[in-house]
């Protein structure tokens, strides 16, 4: 490590610089969109990025912790689906009060993640495999509840779905606001608590962290529990957003979340990056989609090709300008 770092000292190697590049690129992307597509650069379009991706932001925050700790969590998409499913079922068929439903779902999510973390730690298994199995399990449990989607018509959920909180002439959804609050709490957690710093230490070098007397096991279990919690919260937000529970919800969300975290400047090998990067990553992904939706002339395959191309341009420019070579 030290060897590589010798060569790239200076401004461009500072982690904040990469983040800055990301933000600049994002602004540039929005600017280009605005100049090409009329109506693109309205405040509401930017807010819609947040509204539509609130659940992804929350999940990416959880994923950010896992990746910083050097792990990965593939189960988040399925846990999201399972959470929508359990919420819908409890609300519609068991007629639980919404607060109890949300509390239970969040608890279950945290337990699910924590259990995976415990398995990973106790049996020294690879996070990839364990969370992949977790992904199958959560998705499978959805179908055990019901194969069909369940509509939610609970008034509280409906209110959360349809309330528009006016801000600066536009509006945000309660879900988006919750997501932003989660982000702030997570930043605080990552940078100002012993837990957050332990996450960085474990991701930097697990063995050293243990030698320095940190409780690696507890940190890992907590990190996965946190990710499970975030996935469940993402599920709740998704249920607010869609007003339904469905076993096929959120397919591929894990990949989106990982991509968001990585684009936000976090190293997949752990230890380097900022939780706040999740926001820029999510916004980049959202902006790409919005650009395509505004274009409105692309066929299904051109959509994929253009997403790939934009990702490519973005990552390469970020890499070349941000120039961090720690790998």
């Amino acid at each position: 490590m030290s060897a590589v770092a010798t060569g790239t000292r200076g401004v461009t190697s500072a982690p904040w610089f990469t983040s800055l590049v990301t933000v600049v690129l994002l602004v540039a992307m929005l600017g280009i969109g605005g100049s090409v597509y009329p109506g693109f650069l309205s405040l509401q379009v930017i807010f819609n990025l947040l509204i539509d991706n609130a659940f992804l932001l929350v999940i990416a925050v959880g994923m950010g912790f896992v990746i910083l700790a050097g792990g990965i969590d593939l189960s988040v998409g399925s846990v999201l689906a399972l959470s929508t499913m359990i919420s819908a079922w409890l609300l519609q068929h068991a007629h639980w009060p919404p607060v109890a439903v949300v509390a239970l779902v969040l608890l279950l999510g945290a337990c699910f993640g924590g259990a995976m973390g415990a398995i990973i730690h106790l049996f020294k298994l690879q996070p990839f495999i364990v969370t992949l199995a977790g992904m199958f399990l959560a998705r499978g449990l959805c179908y055990l509840i019901s194969v069909e989607s369940i509509t939610i018509d609970d008034p509280v959920f409906t209110a959360m779905s349809q309330t528009q909180v006016p801000i600066l002439g536009g509006f945000l959804s309660p879900g988006a606001i919750i997501a932003l609050v989660v982000l702030l709490v997570a930043i605080w957690l990552a940078h100002f608590t012993a837990f957050g710093r332990a996450v960085y230490a474990v991701g930097g070098n697990e063995q050293s962290a243990a030698m320095m007397g940190l409780n690696v096991g507890r940190t890992k279990v907590l990190v996965y529990a946190l990710s499970g919690f975030c996935a469940a919260l993402g599920g709740v937000l998704f249920a607010f957003y869609m007003l339904s529970g469905y076993g096929l919800h959120g397919q591929g969300t894990e990949l989106d979340a990982i991509a968001a975290v990585v684009i936000g400047g976090t190293l997949l090998t752990g230890g380097y990056g900022y939780i706040a990067g999740a926001l820029s990553g999510v916004l980049v992904l959202g902006a790409i989609q919005t650009l395509i939706a505004f274009d409105g002339t692309l066929s299904s395959w051109w959509t994929k090709i253009v997403i790939g191309a934009l990702l490519f341009v973005f990552c390469v420019v970020q890499r070349v300008m941000g120039g961090r070579s720690k790998q």
Partner: protein
């Protein structure tokens, strides 16, 4: 200075070597596979039954082997990528792309392009894909997962672009031999896998490739200082992985006599990574086992087949699959044995 001070005595050595055999990294994946097969033997009537039909062997085992062929190929390539501490999630897209290219070039009952050329072209496309990934990872130094994410998204789009989103059906009989023909009573695809496997094994064992890949995976900085061409090596493994995926794509296309750009190889990358990890190779890079990955692929395919033949309701598929993966992994971990020993 003595080098013998801490070596073991010969009497203990025999016991140690026996223990070492049980400690062999392949014992566990193999054990899991055998256990699954045993379950099948008990629960699926006629599972091991083989008969000769139309001059070739016919039975569940043959099906599993034949179906596992593309996965085994993908897992072979993925093993080397993972050994360098990388990951390639574009495998499925490359499968779709190369399958599409071969199907389109071969076309109707009379091929528009000579078959050899068509196959070479689709392999060429796969190689290009690999080169692209390799350059992004080794040249531009993008993180492997994002680098290959780009092709994962765009590759399938390209394949659909070529076919206008249609399924391309192939009518040219000789092409079918690749994926559904039989040689010496066994599916030809197995010979393809065996050949690739043998070549890879040879490369890894008889040249210094295996050593170099491990070195790069474990400590890239030290490997560079020892004079390895780290960038070339990394590019090579991505090219190799895509080539394997390309071959897998041709097998799949030939087997279903059509190329489905939308669905071919969907999520194959996940299964390939799962196969590699089940085979005992760590995602953290370094030591790898090609045989292990083969066994891993067979475990996955056997499991899928078991689920189909047991008549598990589709709603429960996923739960069953996840529980098996959990059980296999946990029972394989050495910690589990320690816990058993402690409680015994």
């Amino acid at each position: 200075m003595s080098t013998t001070g801490a070596t073991v005595k010969p009497s203990a050595q025999a016991a140690a070597s026996r223990a070492a055999l049980l400690q062999h990294p392949l014992v566990r994946p193999l054990g899991a596979l055998v256990a699954l097969l045993l379950v099948d033997a008990f629960l699926v009537p006629g599972f091991f039954h083989l008969e000769v039909k139309e001059g070739h062997l016919y039975g569940a085992i043959i099906d599993i082997l034949n179906r596992a062929a593309p996965l085994m190929l993908a897992a072979l390539g993925m093993t080397l990528v993972i050994a360098t501490r990388g990951i390639d999630i574009s495998v499925g897209a490359v499968v779709a792309l190369s399958g599409t290219v071969s199907a389109m070039l071969i076309g109707g009952s009379e091929p528009t392009t000579p078959m050899a050329l068509a196959l070479a072209a689709s392999l060429g496309v796969a190689l290009l894909c690999g080169l692209w990934n390799g350059v992004l990872v080794a040249g531009i130094k993008l993180q492997p997962i994002v680098a290959t994410l780009i092709l994962m998204v765009a590759g399938r789009g390209l394949a659909q672009l070529l076919t206008d989103g249609q399924i391309v059906t192939v009518y040219y009989e000789p092409f079918f031999f690749l994926g559904s023909g039989y040689l010496a009573g066994l599916p030809f695809s197995l010979f393809v896998v065996a050949a690739v496997f043998a070549v890879t094994l040879l490369l890894v064992k008889k040249t210094a490739l295996g050593l170099f890949i491990q070195a790069v995976g474990i400590n890239p900085v030290a490997a560079r200082l020892a004079g390895l061409r780290t960038a070339t090596l990394i590019t090579f493994v991505y090219v190799f992985c895509s080539a394997c995926a390309g071959l897998a794509g041709m097998l799949i296309t030939s087997n279903i006599k059509s190329a489905d750009a939308n669905n071919a190889g969907l999520l194959l990358e996940l299964d390939a990574i799962l196969a590699v990890t089940l085979g005992g190779t760590s995602l953290a890079g370094g030591k790898f086992s090609l045989v292990g990955s083969m066994i891993g692929a067979l475990i996955i395919q056997t499991l899928t087949y078991t689920i189909y033949s047991l008549g598990v309701p589709p709603e429960v598929n996923m739960v069953v699959k996840s529980i098996v993966v959990f059980v296999v992994c946990i029972s394989q971990s050495s910690e589990f044995k320690n816990i058993l020993r402690r409680s015994a």
